[in-house]
Subunit: 197 residues, 2 copies
Amino acid sequence: MLSVAGMNKKERQAALLQLLEKEPFVTDEDLAKQFDVSIQTIRLDRLALGIPELRERIKAVAETKQSELRSLEGTEVIGELIELTLNEIAISIFDIEPVHVFSKTRIVRGHHLFAQANSLAVAVIDADVVLTRTAKLRFVRPARLGERLVCKAVVTSNKSDRAQVEVTTRVGEDVIFSGEFVVVKLGIDSVIGGMEP
Amino acid sequence: MLSVAGMNKKERQAALLQLLEKEPFVTDEDLAKQFDVSIQTIRLDRLALGIPELRERIKAVAETKQSELRSLEGTEVIGELIELTLNEIAISIFDIEPVHVFSKTRIVRGHHLFAQANSLAVAVIDADVVLTRTAKLRFVRPARLGERLVCKAVVTSNKSDRAQVEVTTRVGEDVIFSGEFVVVKLGIDSVIGGMEP
């Protein structure tokens, strides 16, 4: 916890800057709570410090991470890629919008959860072409319009021709989806042309 | 096999009509082979008989099938629904277009295969709200730009609160994807409002 009692504006802004360098994806709401000030004060602080809003911070990070991808083009990752260490771990953020939910229930459609997880399981692997071979999925609880899905892929086994990736998607602290993926690695030559019927 | 030798135009058109009533989704190419005439002749026969092209025939069937759905809105099924017997079997057709494939390999993205299968596993169930609980997927071989995916969902077990659905996707005779889905049935009231945080 921050010791915020009696901080003046200059001290608060310095602490804010330091905190956002370590944890760039904290919301204004959470910052306001942590510093025990209003959200409006946090917005003014950010403005004074030249720190863009959360949405823009996520996009900026995603753009730098995308350039490190090997198996996918940047735009092929579903969600915003905010963390990537090839063959180890990847994290993406996906905000649920009206187009992603069922009309009747406003619950997110299962294939969007799968798309975020599956593309991350492929993205985390360091190979030219990576294809999903098998997946075991568990939809733990429905996710809803307006929620933010944070998906984490961890490589748990990595051989020359295949890898196993465990993927977990959370809303806040709640796990809402998990999957075990086995992906295979192929050379680009074996895929373009070679497998045509 | 049809006995087509020596058929005149009138006989061929009568046989064509009969065949398309039984198997409405045969392509002009296959019809030409079966009747041992040119594709152009088949097109002229269809024109004379007032039979629309395959794409239109699929759409027309899909529109009537959609009205029988219970758990999904018609537009929520991924692909064109061409067969539906609630709690028993459903079939959909999905044509792979450029937007569905990876730029590098022209292989269809896994989440489109999943979306077709998952939406069909939900659509086949006769309940107000159906959600996927678990799925075990197997991506057998990559599907490619221009291929037609025919997906079949068969209900293998059906209890009051959940059901098991086996889904198989083929291109021609080849199985390219299979999945075992467990779906749960919910009342609409328990979903709208009741599960909000």
